[in-house]
């Protein structure tokens, strides 16, 4: 088994001091170290944003792609080589804004990919615009009027799309998060975790303090992730202007569905260069 240090790289970590991303990075490294995986068996696919940089900070294979496109990149990798352990990482702008369509359909497809969405409620790398997950009324430097949309609820979207593993973590609880990622790594299907992540620079609403006061562990409340109705109810728990409720973290919902890359697929790697010339000959013959 690879040591935890094996999961780091030489790349300088360029996040702000105090950023919630550090907790996520730690948790991911711990989860990988615990998962009996070798670095060369893992591919981390990153979007563009502060979150996506994780790809370069995990000592594994990586494809650090385009803003919003971590999921299709990851799906391409997985369909081409189902033996690889594939992890897609991106911010909330990445996954829910630019890449929203891919996420929707990923839940439906259910490939055996772990998907980590760093939810800091803001566009970090581009300096503080509202993200889909920004709360209603969230103000930004230049937009004093605040946003006029209710926050995007990724877990609700996942459940609505038939997602098979729908979870929420908190960067401030690394131990819990590492366990969660571990479960997602073990799940045969689309292991989706929305991760509450304070952005110390641009999000002064959803701070570490704010979260710490409110998060509670679903498991402690003996929530059964097999109960879709209970999951639906828990997913709606979120503080609002009217009512300040607690925020559940943990696995909301889990189900068994075949992993997409095993459905009507070659079922093995289609990488490398090898093919059957007889198939081509036969194919040609069909045009006589």
């Amino acid at each position: 088994m690879a040591e935890s240090t094996a999961w780091s790289t030489n790349a300088e970590v360029t996040w702000c001091p105090g950023c919630g991303n550090f907790g996520i990075l730690t948790a991911l490294r711990q989860a990988l170290a615990a998962a009996r995986l070798e670095p060369w068996q893992v591919v981390v696919v990153g979007g563009i944003g502060q979150a996506g940089k994780v790809a370069q900070y995990i000592g594994a294979n990586f494809l650090h792609g385009l803003h919003g496109r971590a999921i299709p990149h990851a799906l391409g990798v997985k369909l081409a080589n189902p033996e690889l352990k594939v992890i897609a990482v991106g911010g909330d702008g990445d996954m829910y804004g630019e890449g929203g369509n891919h996420l929707l359909h990923a839940f439906r497809r259910n490939p055996d990919i772990v998907c980590l969405a760093h939810n800091n409620g803001v566009y970090g790398l581009t300096k503080g615009q509202a993200a889909p997950t920004s709360s209603l009324g969230f103000t930004t430097k230049h937009r004093e009027a605040g946003t006029h949309m209710p926050a995007f609820n990724p877990l609700a979207a996942g459940l609505a799309m038939g997602g098979s593993f729908i979870a929420r973590g908190f960067s401030g609880d690394t131990k819990h998060l590492a366990r969660l990622i571990g479960e997602a790594l073990g799940h045969r299907g689309f292991g989706f975790i929305d991760i509450l992540q304070p952005c110390v620079t641009y999000n002064h609403v959803n701070t570490a303090e704010w979260y710490r006061k409110r998060v509670y562990d679903l498991e402690v409340e003996s929530h059964s992730p097999l109960d879709a109705d209970a999951a639906r109810a828990r997913i709606l728990e979120w503080p609002s202007e009217e009512e300040d409720v607690e925020i559940p973290i943990g696995v909301f919902y889990r189900s068994r569905r075949p992993a997409y890359e095993t459905c009507g697929r070659p079922g093995q790697a289609v990488t490398g260069f090898a093919f059957d010339i007889e198939v081509v000959k036969k194919a040609m013959g069909e045009f006589r």
């Binding site: 790289t9 494809l63 369909l79 369509n101 070659p266 260069f273």
Partner: protein
């Protein structure tokens, strides 16, 4: 010499495609060359579609001028194509339900060129156990009978085609075919307005659409991954590969949109699969960012673009060559790429193979630029020569065995700018690919010296790429006074136009550019020196090939023939235009 055109026309949904395809295939099997161009509207039922099947004992490459025979599945088709018939051409059509307001076509009536053969096809079809929908087969029977061509080929074809549907269906079809023939023989026995004699030699040729030639080219190049989103006129490529998934051990993924498609292809290529997508201009517009990503990450991808008339949604089912410059410079900043614009289905097969091979060899994107004419037409081609196909591995895993762990550098600087590839999942090594500027290890890097070197590494491939492409095709020689330049499917009409003009003793030759980027600069410049006059022929309104010629060689086309009505060039009309400009 035989060169006749048999056209099947009617509404979408009346089996125009099937009938014309069966006809062409039967004739190809019996030794003829054919070229069928489907003229289709953007709808599923109704409207007016027609497919002209040109039949000849020599190779034919382009849409016909006039029709020798018309199988009209509705009266609108008769009205529509009356004027397209050669003098004395035959029109097979249903007896008009009510006498048409205009005079119905009949031989010798002066203004009408076609001779009408009224065959109650639907009634006959129903009588012979079939449904109305088999009226087209009755029509085929009638048509073939009037050409004097034996029906044996068509009969065995129907048997093959409908075998899966059961004997009953086969019987019905054969019955309809025969009944159509019997009807005309009985009524107009002995008439043969358009003779198609039996051919003596029957070489094993294929009847294949441009799209299918491309798909076969991909198969023959070891394609293992295709992600796509439907878009006319490229969709049959994806459909074909979908059907071949199990057999060829490949993955065909229908994406939620084109952006997903190209980015899946990039992921698959990173993983080490030979990967491609196919789309049209509008879908490609959405892939432009992904194109740059593939280039920056140095991942080979093949993108097929079947052009249609635009801008925007334009003419979804019609042809145009409006995207040459677009694909040449699409995406932010600069990187080397290949662009191939084959002229025929045969060339499309080999060009697709070149696209895969060269993309893999140079780790760059390659674009195969087709168009609706090339993609949708059915071409008669010699069996593809698999010995001519290049298929080599882009990985050398052995190279990495025994190397120190973690020593792999995805973007190692090398003499030729090409860094050895490795598949992620190789024990002890890590593969880092990215779309941000980076160092040899594949980590993001903002240093300017590293940038200059890494950008230089990517760009440096271009020269070797230029040596790897094929030279343009000259036909029939290089020393004529006038040289006609074209690219893509305009080849066929241009070639035939040159034949026509040379038969009239004009000193004209042509050059067809399939491999367009890198541009074969020296070769083209060399071709131009002895020429007195350069005429470009292309399916767009600004003369993009002329622009490319000028920017690459400084040479300005003396004359341009442009067409942008959504229809392919016709050889005869083109010959006239070129002829006029020769003077």
């Amino acid at each position: 010499m035989t060169d006749v055109t048999l056209t099947v026309a009617g509404q979408a949904g009346q089996g125009i495609d099937t009938a014309s395809e069966l006809l062409a295939r039967a004739l190809v099997r019996s030794g003829y060359h054919t070229f069928s161009y489907p003229n289709i509207m953007s709808r599923i039922r109704g409207g007016h579609n027609f497919t002209a099947v040109r039949v000849s004992d020599r190779q034919v490459y382009s849409v016909p001028g006039k029709f020798n025979a018309l199988l009209a599945m509705d009266e609108l088709s008769v009205d529509e194509h009356r004027g397209d018939m050669v003098e004395g051409g035959m029109i097979i059509a249903e007896p008009p339900e009510s006498p048409s307001p205009r005079p119905s076509p009949a031989g010798g009536e002066g203004e009408e060129a076609g001779i009408a053969f009224r065959v109650p096809m639907a009634v006959i079809a129903e009588k012979h156990g079939g449904t109305k929908r088999m009226a087209n087969v009755v029509g085929l029977g009638a048509l073939l009978a009037l050409t004097g061509h034996p029906a044996t080929g068509l009969r065995s074809l129907l048997k093959e085609r409908f075998a899966a549907k059961g004997e009953e269906v086969v019987k019905q079809n054969l019955g309809c075919l025969k009944a159509g023939a019997d009807y005309v023989k009985k009524k107009w026995g002995g008439t043969c307005p358009c003779e198609l004699p039996k051919q003596t030699r029957q070489p094993r040729r294929l009847l294949v659409s441009g799209n299918h030639a491309i798909a076969l080219g991909a198969l023959a190049s070891g394609v293992r991954f295709h992600a796509g989103y439907p878009m006319s006129p490229s969709t049959p490529i994806m459909e074909y590969l979908a059907a071949k998934q199990a057999e060829a051990g490949l993955v065909m993924e229908q994406a939620e949109d084109e952006i997903a498609a190209i980015n899946m292809v990039i992921g698959a290529s990173y993983a080490g699969a030979r990967a491609m997508t196919a789309t049209s201009g509008g879908g490609f517009a959405l892939m432009v960012e992904g194109l740059g990503m593939a280039a920056m990450a140095e991942l080979p991808v093949v993108i097929v673009i079947a052009m249609r008339a635009g801008p925007a949604t334009g003419f979804p089912t019609r042809t145009e060559q409006g995207e040459l410059l677009f694909v040449t410079s699409a995406s932010q900043d600069e990187f080397p790429r290949f662009v191939f614009a084959p002229g025929t289905a045969e060339e499309a097969f080999y060009a697709t193979n070149r696209a895969f091979e060269l993309a893999a060899r140079f780790q760059v994107p390659a674009i195969v630029l087709s168009d609706q004419q090339l993609s949708d037409s059915l071409w008669t081609v010699p069996s593809f020569n698999l010995a001519r196909v290049k298929a080599s591995s882009d990985f050398d895993e052995l190279l990495w065995q025994g190397r120190p762990a973690n020593s792999y550098q995805r973007y190692a600087f090398t003499r030729d700018g090409i860094s050895p590839r490795l598949r992620p999942g190789t024990r002890g090594q890590l593969v880092r690919s990215l779309g941000t500027e980076h160092d040899e290890d594949g980590f993001q890097n903002e240093d300017k010296a590293v940038r200059v070197k890494m950008h230089g590494k990517r760009m440096s491939k271009f020269e070797a790429m230029a040596r790897a492409v094929e030279r343009p095709t000259c036909y029939p020689e290089e020393t004529a006074e006038v040289i006609v330049f074209c690219f893509g499917s305009t080849y066929g009409a241009a070639r035939e136009a040159v034949d026509i003009l040379r038969a009239e003793r004009a000193s004209v030759a042509m050059v067809h550019l399939c491999d367009l980027v890198p541009f074969p600069r020296e070769r083209v410049a060399g071709l131009l020196s002895p020429a007195r006059k350069v005429i470009t022929v292309e399916g767009n309104s600004t003369g993009q090939l002329a622009i490319l010629l000028r920017r690459e060689t400084g040479i300005k086309a003396d004359e341009q023939v442009l067409k942008y009505d959504g229809r392919p060039f016709e050889a005869k009309a083109l010959a006239e235009e070129i002829g006029a400009k020769c003077k």
